[in-house]
């Protein structure tokens, strides 16, 4: 018996062993997920992305941050992108604007100014957020900038005026919460690398519990003013399982005032 055949046989044996151990094989048994009294998936909890998406949605090597004074602390970790297909399909003029945004990111990123994060960026900021799921509407509360948004689960609401966080209308498709977000003013960036959209942005988010502590998050972004076609991002939201974990306050305006208004501070002394 050749070594090759031995390897093949033993790996087949391993596969058979694995199959024998996995009751979910063959016919896919639904994963065990928490459910509300009405049997809808229970998304209540505190969630956080562990991706590098807030630095850069697309695949990227490590690179220096915009502030040399902070050395390695402000550097950007390398990351695998979360954009389906790898690249954001910018229209040519938008690709140019993205480059300008990147060059000016130190002060131009709305996150630096403590502005509301918009959707979908709120989902992958490096801060936890909490979903409070009631028997009526849902509330998403983000630690960053005390942002929050209601997800309407009843009759869809019409957009009043455009806003940073938009109007969120949700519904269930099987075990997936689908949130249709319109009325976004497009002023929020999509990450710290200058990725952006306009007030033509329409986002459809999908939240699917894959087990007790993980949510598969998907968002489709459509904005014909900026992108050549709709595109998708995928990431995992992890439940913060530490005992007693709670959202804490991050009111960041006081941390941004020197950046925003420093040039108008009265110069004292000689």
């Amino acid at each position: 018996m050749s070594a090759h055949l031995l390897r093949t046989l033993s790996s087949s044996f391993l596969i058979i062993l694995c199959l024998g151990h996995n009751p979910a094989s063959g016919q896919a048994a639904a994963p065990k997920i928490p459910r509300m009294a009405d049997r809808k998936p229970d998304l209540n909890g505190i969630w956080e992305s562990l991706s590098t998406a807030n630095w850069d949605l697309q695949d990227h090597s490590a690179y220096a941050g915009p502030m040399w004074e902070m050395g390695a602390i402000a550097a950007v970790p390398a990351g695998q992108g979360i954009v389906e297909g790898g690249l954001i399909p910018y229209l040519p003029a938008s690709a140019e604007k993205r480059k300008q945004n990147f060059a000016n990111r130190r002060s131009a990123d709305p996150e630096a100014k403590c502005y509301l994060p918009g959707i979908p960026r709120a989902a992958y900021l490096p801060y936890p957020f909490q979903i409070v799921q009631s028997n009526k509407d849902m509330l998403f509360i983000y630690q960053y900038a005390t942002a929050s948004r209601q997800v309407n689960m009843g009759k869809p609401r019409e957009v009043g005026a455009d806003s940073w966080m938009g109007m969120s209308n949700g519904h269930w498709e099987g075990d997936t919460l689908v949130v249709d977000v319109t009325g976004l003013n497009g002023k929020a960036w999509l990450d710290r690398a200058g990725d952006f959209s306009s007030d033509g942005l329409h986002v459809v988010e999908r939240y699917t519990l894959t087990d007790q502590d993980h949510v598969a998050y998907e968002a489709t972004l459509e904005d014909p003013k900026i992108f050549a076609r709709p595109w998708k991002i995928h990431l995992t939201l992890y439940r913060r399982v530490e005992k007693g974990f709670q959202l804490l306050e991050f009111k960041c305006i006081p941390f941004a005032e020197e950046l925003l208004y420093g040039e108008f501070r009265k110069k004292t002394g000689k």
């Binding site: 409070v132 509360i141 209601q150 940073w164 305006i253 925003l260 108008f264």
Partner: protein
């Protein structure tokens, strides 16, 4: 868009003493026998919905000293308020002679009612005397404000409201000329109290866990809740010592003060009818007030006020830029004039 309280102060003051209609309402509603408290699917009293404080806009924080310990206005007093309000409302919406003021269509008015003050304890409806330490602190703060508000050296010379940071957990609920929405959303083990004014959302755990470490301080504090029968009781500590509590609008009202980090709040939410939650907050800070005091008012659901729209205060804060840039421009102008005079 946001109107700055320093600009509209006089109008707002007028709004607080004038009423819209003579429809009297009781000071606090009592539970009707026919109404049954709805429960959530997990068994908590269901308080969910948007409960604006708008209806109490005509009730001042502190009672007119002339009324003493009388907490309820007479029919005649309510009618007088209503008559004054009619004039004010005409002024606000235009008088038919082409005069349409700045704020037409913007302000909330509230509803005439018998409650003589939002402060219900002490019995005279007045905020208790400040401690000697707090009096000195407040005098310094107000001197600074009075000298600097028209030409701020930095943002630190303006209020935390001007800066769009927060009105704190008490100020965010107090009835004001706009943004009076208060929302309650519940999930198993949690209640969220969400305020329209500068988009706050306090997540309140109900599982009996202790307060966060005293090293963790914040503007909105650390809240823990529990049920006493149908009443939600919320205990809040861990404040950062920068939160103003006082007359409506928060800032520099004579009756207000910045509480220390020893501030302790106990709030009570009791739903007494389909459209009414009685809200009560007891304020305790021995380093600021000589005794605890309590504000109480009904929060009334309104048919067309069932959703809280985003208030992106900081994002649209052109006031900060203009106030600071304006102060520097004035100084430059004065320096140039002085230079010219010297030559």
């Amino acid at each position: 868009m946001r109107y700055r309280h320093s600009l509209i102060g006089p109008i707002v003051f007028a709004a607080t003493v004038i009423t819209v209609s003579a429809q009297p309402v009781a000071k606090t509603a009592t539970a009707s026998k026919a109404w049954k408290q709805p429960m959530t699917s997990w068994g908590d009293p269901d308080l969910q919905g948007v409960w604006p404080s708008t209806s109490m806009l005509q009730t001042p924080m502190e009672r007119d000293p002339k009324l003493g310990t009388r907490a309820a206005l007479t029919d005649e007093e309510v009618a007088q308020k209503a008559a004054r309000d009619k004039q004010f409302h005409q002024l606000e919406t235009g008088n038919g002679k082409g005069f349409v003021p700045l704020a037409a269509g913007w302000f909330d008015y509230g509803q005439a009612n018998r409650q003589a003050s939002l402060v219900v304890d002490p019995p005279d409806g007045r905020i208790p005397t400040l401690t000697a330490e707090a009096q000195a602190r407040e005098a310094a703060r107000k001197k600074h404000w009075n000298e600097k508000k028209d030409s701020p050296d930095t943002w630190m010379d303006l209020t935390t409201w001007d800066r769009c940071i927060t009105l704190g957990p008490v100020g965010s609920v107090m009835p004001f000329a706009y943004n009076n929405g208060q929302q309650i959303v519940q999930g198993p083990g949690y209640v969220v109290f969400r305020n329209e004014m500068i988009h706050e959302a306090r997540v309140i755990p109900l599982d009996g866990r202790p307060h966060a470490s005293p090293e963790i301080r914040s503007w909105m504090g650390d809240s823990r809740g529990h049920w006493e029968g149908k009443t939600l009781v919320v205990d809040t500590t861990n404040f950062n010592g920068q939160v103003f509590i006082g007359s409506q609008g928060g800032g520099f009202g004579d009756s207000g003060a910045v509480a220390t980090d020893q501030l302790h709040l106990v709030e009570r939410f009791t739903r007494v009818a389909d459209n009414v939650i009685n809200y009560q907050v007891t304020i305790e800070d021995p380093q600021t007030w000589t005794k605890p005091w309590t504000i109480a008012m009904p929060l009334r659901r309104e048919a067309d006020y069932d959703y809280i729209y985003e208030y992106a205060c900081h994002e649209g804060n052109i006031f900060m830029h203009d106030a600071l840039a304006g102060a520097r421009a004035e100084e430059k102008k004065a320096a140039a004039a002085a230079q010219k005079g010297a030559n």
